[in-house]
Every structure is written in structure tokens, then in C-alpha cells.
Subunit: 355 residues, 2 copies
């Protein structure tokens, strides 16, 4: 046995395929074959065993960068979020991450912070890093960045929000249903004059929830008064407050307000408080999303629960399919929300509305 080459168990440098090959006295390609499950069968069982042993001894770990270069597959996927501080984002990301890790991928996180330049920079970085795919939360009708990357070859799937183009794979909540669920609840409670704080109409959540709301209103006894709808520019508490103030200032009577999401609902709480109107005694408010801690608000918020982690997992699943088999036609998956009744909704003060 020649002892002249390093017998010390690799003190610093990471072991490479060649190190293993040398010590196992085989060629690197044999090592490669022995180490990869799929090609293991090509190599003599005894040799394979020896190789495995040496690899373990040297604590060999494949260099994924090198493999990626060779295979032009990085096993990484980008996840682009508009704002990490948005309470619905973490649960979705969690769902995505879990599924992706399970499939052997690694998640590259990018926070656009609502600025297009940051979004663009992340998308570029993903291309440069050879990410195998991208999951985006940021879909909006006016979003050039996403449009440009879609169809550029990189598999993209949308999550939470989608675009009008139904051919883009996406995992979204049933927003129409979100809208009608709350109306049905309020109508059952006896409300007739219901105001609506809409989300940004350039987002699918904004427009679809409004559609669902209006459809349900029209289906119910008293049709919807368009003057009772005001659109928020963004999904923020401040915008929710502004919209609700506007509603209050209009002088038109209403006994309940539905907000397109929980942040807007929180803004309604604020505006109501300022105006000295109690919730739910004077006016009921309901939201949508069932964000974390919605049950701890004052009052606990009646809202619509969306299984955000599931949404994320579904998006990851869609992307995986896209990556593995780019040819099969893209799907969209929609997850059903459920109403959760808490303390912010109650029957209107006087059974029937009117002044």
C-alpha cells in the first residue's frame, strides 16, 4: 500500500470526487455513478460499497454548484414577495418552502418592498443564478416585470393573486366565494344596507372579491347601492380608514361594512372609533384573510379564512410540475375559503334599515 499521498482525514478542504476516486482507487466517473442512486446499478456492487465507504469516510458532499453548471439545473427556485411584513405572506411562504424542500429544492427569497426596481432586480438575479423557477406574489395588472419574465422560458407560477390571462399557472383563493360568503352572513343577520371597501382593482383579489360581493348583493333581496362602494389604493390600514371615513361622510345610511381584507377592516375599526360608532353595535365590519391575530383584535374580527399554507404548497406543487414536465398545459388551483364568525358582526340595531 503506498502511503505517500495524504492519509490524514482531510483536515480543512472539502473532499471532492477526485479525492474519493483516488482513495477508492477507481475513476471519478465510477464514483459519480456509484454515488447517484439512478446510476448506482451500473457499477459493481462491491466497488459501489467501497466507494460509498470512502465517501462517508471523507465526509464527501457533492458540490451542487458544479453539478448545476454541468446539468444546467440549480435546484433552486425564487420566491418573490411584495412585502414580507404583510401578515398573509409568511404562512404562504412557509407552505411553499416546506413543499420545495421536500422535493430537494432550495428557496431564494426576494422582497420587492413594493418597488418595481427591486422586483426587477430580483428577477434578474434569479436568471443570473439560474433559478429553475419562480413563484411570485406580486401579480398586478400593471406589473411589467412579471409579464416580461413569463414566457421568457423560466417557469413561473403565481400565488395568491393572479393575472387575467388564465393560461398562467397559479394558486389562488376562491375570491368570488370570499365576497359572497360575507354577504350571505350579513344578510342572514338582517343587514340590508351594506357598504364595501374594495381592494385595488388592478389585483385579482381586489376585483374578484368585489365581483363576488356585488353578485351576492344582487342575488339578495335589496340590490347594492354603488355609492356605498369605495376603492382602496392599497391594502393598508390607513387606506381602510380613509375609505371608511368617506363612507361615513357620504351621509348614506349603512349598518355593515365589508372590507376586501383584514388590514382594510382594521382601518375601518379606526374610522368607526373616530366617528364614535361602536362595532358591532352600530356597524358590523367583516374582513377577509383571517390573518394571524385577527382573533385578538378588539373586537375579534369576523372574517374569511384562507388556508394560506395550503395555497403556498399548491403553488410549489404547480411549479414542480412545470419544471419536471414543461409540456403539460398549465393549471390553476383555487382553494376554498371558509367563513369565521367572531365578534365584529351582529344583527343591525333596528331590524330593517332606513332613516
Amino acid at each position: 500500500m503506498s502511503d505517500d499521498h495524504a492519509t490524514t482525514p482531510a483536515p480543512k478542504r472539502r473532499a471532492t470526487l477526485r479525492d474519493v476516486a483516488r482513495l477508492a482507487e477507481v475513476h471519478t466517473s465510477t464514483v459519480s455513478r456509484a454515488l447517484n442512486r439512478n446510476t448506482r446499478s451500473m457499477v459493481d456492487p462491491e466497488t459501489a460499497e467501497r466507494v460509498l465507504a470512502v465517501a462517508a469516510y471523507l465526509d464527501y458532499r457533492p458540490n451542487l454548484i458544479a453539478r448545476g453548471l454541468k446539468l444546467s439545473r440549480s435546484h433552486s427556485v425564487g420566491v418573490l414577495v411584495p412585502d414580507l411584513l404583510n401578515p398573509v405572506v409568511p404562512p404562504i411562504v412557509q407552505g411553499i418552502e416546506a413543499r420545495l424542500v421536500e422535493a430537494g429544492y432550495v428557496v431564494l427569497l426576494g422582497n420587492a418592498n413594493h418597488v418595481q426596481a427591486r422586483e426587477q432586480a430580483f428577477v434578474d438575479a434569479m436568471r443570473d443564478q439560474q433559478a429553475d423557477g419562480l413563484i411570485a406574489f406580486t401579480a398586478s395588472d400593471d406589473d411589467e416585470v412579471l409579464r416580461s419574465i413569463i414566457g421568457s422560458g423560466v417557469p413561473v407560477v403565481l400565488v395568491n393573486r393572479t393575472l387575467p390571462d388564465e393560461s398562467i399557472p397559479a394558486a389562488v383563493p376562491d375570491d368570488i366565494l370570499c365576497g359572497s360568503l360575507v354577504v350571505d352572513h350579513l344578510v342572514k343577520l338582517g343587514h340590508e344596507r351594506i357598504a364595501y371597501v374594495a381592494g385595488p382593482q388592478r389585483t385579482s383579489t381586489g376585483s374578484r372579491r368585489r365581483q363576488g360581493f356585488e353578485a351576492a348583493m344582487n342575488r339578495s333581496l335589496k340590490p347594492f347601492n354603488p355609492a356605498l362602494l369605495v376603492e382602496a389604493a392599497r391594502y393598508t390600514e390607513a387606506e381602510g380608514a380613509r375609505c371608511c371615513r368617506e363612507l361615513l361622510a357620504s351621509g348614506i345610511d349603512f349598518t355593515a361594512v365589508v372590507a376586501a381584507n383584514d388590514m382594510l377592516a382594521l382601518g375601518c375599526y379606526d374610522a368607526l372609533g373616530e366617528a364614535g360608532r361602536a362595532c358591532p353595535e352600530d356597524i358590523s365590519v367583516v374582513g377577509c384573510n383571517d390573518m394571524p391575530f385577527a382573533d385578538r383584535f378588539n373586537p375579534p374580527l369576523t372574517t374569511v379564512n384562507i388556508a394560506h399554507a395550503e395555497l403556498g404548497a399548491a403553488a410549489a406543487e404547480l411549479l414542480l410540475e412545470r419544471i419536471e414536465s414543461p409540456l403539460v398545459p398549465p393549471k390553476q388551483v383555487v382553494v376554498s375559503p371558509t367563513l369565521v364568525v367572531r365578534k365584529s358582526s351582529a344583527p343591525p340595531r333596528s331590524p330593517a334599515g332606513g332613516r
Copy 2:
């Protein structure tokens, strides 16, 4: 001019350095030099300009995988979190991400979900992916995974929590101060019998906040009664409730309870509610972290604000320093918290305690 090689503007395949070289009629190494700011000066300005133009024309983007292989530097860093759903995590991650992206790095996110095997898998993945460094939220005295990677050559920095070993770079809140801030507040309000719901003592936040609390109590007029301290096994609402119930059941009188974090404080709300004790009228409660929406709880929570995004940015900064200059001795940075008084704390019912 020979027109026989592809004149169409690269319909599908990404342009490579060789494509640029071919079209610019120079060698690939010249292209490389022209494209990299540092080596640009080595090349004739006119040539450089031509190369740049061709690169732009072909929409050339360097393949970072290839560069990474050559340079053994991936420009990616792993961020290991224990639980993405923990409300303090997203703000910290946001701070990290912002700083890292600014420095040209990309963030690999890993969610351990409190299971060591997942943590280990992520750390392994980071090594395989050749991540340039790691930022970990998970430090705990009994955490083998982190211990093993620290000193294995990969730069690691801890954030939010740290380990007893002060030589490990970390960005943490001033937990001692967190503890004393709340005591001073409560004492000023007139409280004398103050209970403490401690966090897990194997975490630095748990033990240091307790230390800060005890020190401040002993500094104040009436020293602390050890029977009034109970330790939560985890930072969860359920554990907070359990601890508070235990305190209530002990029969020892107290007029305020301080919880080691806001989730535990929320649990105290629950236990107090069950026992029919009003907060803050019967018992004041204060938390720590000032997590998102702590101001919307019922009652709005008096707590200690920690600049989480700053904490994240500081951690990123530390890691960057570690990566660029591994030789300079590791630092720790501690960020100062501030008290935020809301509605969950008030003077005790009867000026002096006692039954």
C-alpha cells in the same frame, strides 16, 4: 463582413461569454476583462466599448453558477429561521434581506419548523450549495447543529438569540435592559408584587431577560419573591397561559405580571380572562418585543420595542464583514430596546400590596 454565423438576435438560448467574444471578434478572456469593473482598465477603451455594446445587444448576463464554480464563491447566504410564523421573524428577515441584496448577495431561506432534523438538512444544503455564510435565528444551548457548523469554516452569525460563547458574532437586543425597563415602569406605577413568566432558559433571550428582571427587582425597594417566577417551555401563547394559571393557583398575591415576550403575554391575557381577573384593573401585564399588532390586542399591550429590522441589518452587516475579512476578530452588536406604554399596565388597585 461574414454573415454566415447566426445574425438573429439569440432567439432562445442565453448568450454566453463566447457568443459575445465571437460577435465582438475578441477572445473570451478579453470579454471577461471588459465586463468586470475591476479588470476593465486592462483592456483598450475602444475594445471595451465594443464588447459592452455587443453584450448589451445580446442581452448578455453572466452565469453566476459558472462564476461561482470558478471563484468558489456563490454570493448567496443562508438564513435559518426556527419558525416563519413567529411574528418577530419576518421583520428581522426583512432587515437581513435588504442589506444582503444591497451587497449583491442572494438569500437562501430555510425554515426549521423547530425540528432539528430540518435544521440539519438546511445547514447541509447550505454547505452543498456553497453558501458563503449563514445567519441563524435558532441559537439555543442544546443546539448541536449550530455548534457543529460554527468553526467548520463557514462564517456564521447569530441573530436575536446568541450562545454563551461570546466569540461568536451576533446581533442581539439588549435583553438585560428589556427586563429592567419593564420593572422600572411597573415600580413607578406603584407595583410591588410582580410575577414573572420567564422564557426558555436555554435561550439567551429567556435567561438574560430574566436576569434583567431579577436585577431590577432587587434594585427596587421590595426584593423579588422567587415563588413568583415560572418558566415557559416555549414562547407560545399556550405556555404563557399555563404559566399564568400556575401563578394564579399559587395563591401568592401579585398585582402585575411581566412576560418574557408578547406571545407569553397573550397567554396571560387568556389565563386572566378565565380567572375573571381584568387587565389592567386587577392585574397589569407587560410583554416584550412589540410584535406587529400588539397595539391592536385587547387591551393594547404595554411592551418593549425592539428594532427588529435593524437587528437583521446588523446581523447581515456582521456576516458581510466576516466574509470579506475573516481575520478580524468577531464582534457582537446589541441594539437598545425602548419601553412602549399602552393600556395593559396601570397602577395597582390598592396603593400598597398585601391581602
